[in-house]
């Protein structure tokens, strides 16, 4: 019993020292990883500036024809700063992108539609039928404004339209609707509810997390998704790099 208390004190002291050691080790690892990310970030920034200044010849001529439709998903925190969005659109116009779908989940950019169209030179609202009446050489850009109401809500409304049509057609008892519910029918119903249905080849996501932020699911089947970080720290070089990388992608489409 006499030995018990000192023994407990010693083991308690050992445990404390052990905890301290582990704590310091964890903090050391944390510092190393943070330093790594800082160095990586600096390298990316330097590379981006080099690309912007035209030092890397690979990015001076991009086959932009491969990018028929680009989509940009912006986090709601970033979407509030429309100036950055406008600058991004101006960069895209410079690069030669002809069609952009601009998305944020809350529809903040939809509300700023008039400001965006008035400020971005050569911009106009994408028509429903997708026909853009301008020559490829013109520095013009068609913009579509999308929000989360164009995602699941739109699919719901389209599903309702199909349901109503199916029921009105008075189908025979054994009919399971195989000929009525096809992908093309749903696509057509989506157009009725206002979803233009332009399928983007590339989706750039600006925000703190790597998800597509609720971009219309029906359109995302084979879309390349690239996370670009926060819009506040966007760089022209990074944008050019992402688009250039996309032009080199080869899809098998599952085959």
């Amino acid at each position: 019993m006499d030995l018990y208390d000192p023994m407990m004190h010693v083991s308690s002291w050992i445990r404390q020292v052990g905890n301290l050691g582990l704590d310091l080790l964890w903090r050391f690892i944390h510092i190393v990883v943070s330093l790594w990310y800082i160095v990586f970030g600096i390298f990316e920034a330097i590379e981006s500036y080099a690309i912007s200044l035209g030092f890397d010849e690979r990015y001076n001529s991009i086959d932009i024809k491969k990018l028929r439709c680009l989509a940009v998903a912006v986090d709601i925190a970033d979407a509030r700063d429309v100036a950055n969005v406008i600058e991004l659109l101006q960069w895209l116009t410079t690069i030669g992108v002809k069609q952009v779908g601009l998305y944020d989940s809350q529809g903040l950019l939809k509300k700023s539609k008039d400001l965006v169209l008035a400020t971005v030179p050569g911009s106009f609202l994408l028509e429903e039928n997708g026909k853009n009446d301008f020559s490829p050489d013109e520095k013009r850009i068609a913009i579509e404004f999308i929000s989360s109401s164009d995602n699941k809500e739109a699919v719901m409304k389209a599903a309702n339209i199909l349901l109503q049509r199916y029921l009105k057609s008075s189908p025979p008892e054994n009919d399971k609707g195989e000929n009525f519910f096809t992908e093309s029918h749903l696509s057509e119903a989506l157009r009725v509810v206002g979803d233009n249905g332009h399928v983007p080849d590339l989706l750039l996501v600006y925000g703190p997390i790597r998800s597509h932020l609720g971009f219309p699911a029906w359109r995302l089947r084979y879309t390349e998704i690239v996370h670009m970080g926060s819009l506040k720290y966007m760089r022209y070089g990074s944008l050019l790099k992402a688009i250039h990388k996309f032009t080199g992608v080869r899809q098998n489409y599952g085959t």
Binding site: A159, A217, Y222
Partner: protein, 289 residues
Amino acid sequence: MLYLLCFLLSLLSLLLLPCLRPCFHAKKSLKDEKEIDERTYVVGEEEPPTGLRRDLMPRHVAVIMDGNRRWAKQAGLLTSQGHEAGAKRLIELLELCFKLGINTVSAFAFSTENWGRHKIEVNCLMSLMQHYLESKTQYFQREETRVSVIGNLTKIPESLLHKIHKIEKATKCYKKKHLILAIDYSGRFDIMHACKSIVKKSEQGLIREEDVDEKLFERELLTKCTEFPSPDLLIRTSGEQRISNFFLWQLAYTELFFSPVLWPDFDKKKLLEALVSYQRRERRFGCRL
């Protein structure tokens, strides 16, 4: 100059701030010292995933197992051997996920578009799936893991369909751990299937047109077999950065992790990397915080 100054200041703060925090813990009672911090994995317990927190583990992880053919080509092996290696890797990943507390795992085993591959490869894949479902039934029962197969199962061979029904029946009683295999699956087909299901129920008078909303729609998707149909984390290997018609509806706010590694090489270390990346993110599910 300003940029350099910011860099130096941030470096200094990284070095100093953690050290300012008291490193000595308050003296605990004997009872407290014996308790393990439930939030953090104890170092030394089954090869510690450094920095992972149990309470931030994703509930549902989905994987697109891409790169088997390329892996086989690089290794000088047959495509079938690549798929075999991929299947083994899936089982390993499954074991690891369950050990880490991730109770639902979905795997994109065969997409509708894969029917366009060479017939020999398709037959090989069907045989491989059949073999694994048959040979692993006891394993899943022993591990108390429920196995569900989702997809358009009308085109798959009868023998494979039989194995699927057998394993689903044998494991349907297990509630905690769940493996969802997507075979002949297409995200668009899933959405269409939900539409048809709603029509059927509407015809039977079970639902009215005005009841059709997002929640009801989600309950009609093929992922209705699980309590957590929307994955928290999607991992796609081989460097491709797209979701390729997988879980289109379900992935709205899923963290996407694109790994450059080919699937048979996606080992424990890579999985932990994905989980650390996931735990570092701040997901808002489209809402303002």
